[in-house]
């Protein structure tokens, strides 16, 4: 699979560290929510990005400034610039066409969950999203999620919504009402903690995992989750709670 050429159609600042890129591709792609693409900027680098949305040949990525390549994107890329992607790669979320879904996002982990929420709504599921941020200034995509279902915000420092971590919010929400399935994307501690609670409660759960992805084809082993030998780029990035269960048990010892 070689690269598909894309042109940045529109970009907007979501927070001071996070931008949204809308890219028009010269070919149509059909990603499943949870799948990702490798985005290549010639002479700069190549990074994995979850699809935040895709329709025909238009895709959206939400990019937090975390390193060299994302720093370059934030500072230098502008509308009209050319980028290259290969994908869709990896395994997306599995989802049933009915029921009540709870989405738990830590910061920019909301990107694949937004794409998922859109698909869940189209399929007739009811969606509730818990979006966790550090402070009031870090909040984004609240309105976008509100168009698809119920939204609750948590901030660790500030006055919006629930005061605390999104994990605490999740714990209080899950006590009050029953859900058919939980999807989570955030830091690994958040993913594992939510997965552990869901497994205990007998609730289906899937999480999107993050690793340094290199080949993106499942052959180099750079993104393996050890000791399970699960490759984030190929077996994931979306992993079922039952696949992760041996790690959760080991963690508790």
């Amino acid at each position: 699979m070689s690269y598909i050429t894309g042109v940045i159609e529109r970009l907007r600042d979501l927070t001071k560290n996070i931008k949204e890129y809308e890219i028009i591709l010269e070919d149509r792609v059909e990603p499943e929510p949870g799948q990702f693409a490798m985005l290549w900027i010639p002479r700069v680098g190549e990074i994995p990005l979850s699809f935040a949305d895709a329709e025909d040949n238009i895709v959206k990525f939400i990019v937090a400034r975390v390193g060299r390549v994302t720093g370059y994107m934030h500072e230098r890329l502008m509308a009209g610039d050319r980028v290259f992607i290969r994908g869709p790669l990896g395994r997306g979320f599995t989802w049933a066409p009915s029921g009540r879904a709870l989405l738990v996002a830590g910061g920019y982990g909301l990107a694949p969950l937004y794409f998922l929420a859109k698909n869940l709504r189209i399929a007739g599921c009811s969606v509730k999203a818990l979006l966790g941020f550090k402070s009031d200034d870090d909040i984004f995509y609240r309105e976008e999620f509100a168009r698809l279902g119920e939204v609750e915000i948590s901030v660790e420092h500030g006055s919006s919504g629930y005061h605390g971590t999104v994990l605490d919010l999740f714990r209080s929400v899950i006590r009050g009402r029953s859900y058919d399935v939980v999807y989570v994307c955030g830091k690994e501690e958040l993913n594992l903690a939510v997965m552990r609670e869901c497994l205990r409660a007998g609730l289906p759960v899937e999480a999107s995992f993050e690793r340094r992805i290199k080949c993106g084809a499942g052959i180099c082993g750079s993104c393996s989750i050890e000791p399970l030998g699960l490759r984030v780029c190929r077996d994931g990035p979306i992993l079922d709670g039952r696949m992760i269960a041996p790690m959760l048990e080991a963690d508790e010892d």
């Binding site: 690269y3 680098g45 290199k214 080949c215 052959i219 180099c220 082993g221």
Partner: protein, 305 residues
Amino acid sequence: MSPALEVELAGLRLRNPTILASGILGSSYGLIKRVEEAGAGAITTKTITREPKEGYSNPVFVDLGFGYLNAMGLPNPGITAFKMELRRAAENIRIPVIASIGGRDEGEFMEVAEHALDAGCSAIELNLSCPHVGGYGLEIGSDIQLACNIIRSIRSISSRPVFAKISAYYARPDIVSRYIGSGADGVTAINTIRAAAISVESMTPILSNIFGGLSGPCIRPIAVAAIYEIRRELPDVPIIGVGGVDGWRAALELILAGANAVGVGSAIARKDLEIFREIIEGLRDFLASRGFKSIKELVGYAQRL
């Protein structure tokens, strides 16, 4: 009775002739375990060096359609950290674990091999052929005398099998003879071939390192020629054939040329780990349909007069 796929390779007993090639997935215990479960007959670790190596930055892999190009840059945790993974693999993995050893000089090869042997690897494979990392691999293997010296030194500390992984450029019977004379038990032929790709759209090289190693179906005829020629001149040398094994037909082609076992590598990008079962079942069906009792009968079969 279903035909036998067991092979013997310089004293190693393999349940079937498929081997995970070096550089692919063999960097951690978890991955090695999964490849064992997928059915492989043996596994080769990623090349291990003395110090940890970060490897090159992305892009490191290109799917060309007719083959693959990679320049990972020998990323590995270094022998000290990898030793624990290797020890765990040696204790828990039931198929042979071949440690791929890298180095810039004889001293580094010796030090890494000593630790790998101590950790319990089943055999050693010397990387004399990686085509895109300065100071390593092919830069060692292009000096035949240096390669012979390294082989002799490793032989002196290893009672376990030693394989030299060779480049297509040096996959000649006379050179292989010198390696065997220096103490190698066998050869792994061939490594990837130095190559590069340029994106016409961006008008730039694709790999961050510009140069990488070409693998996949497009290099299979080169592997077949190398294996055929070595087998013709050296009828008893154990050969692990590597290059473009993307299914049972390709595996069989290398075996018919003279390989005792075959490495499987970048084809995992297309077929994932199921490729091991596909090869094993395909070989078994072929043997049965042609009335052969064992895969061993077909090693070098294409060279019968």
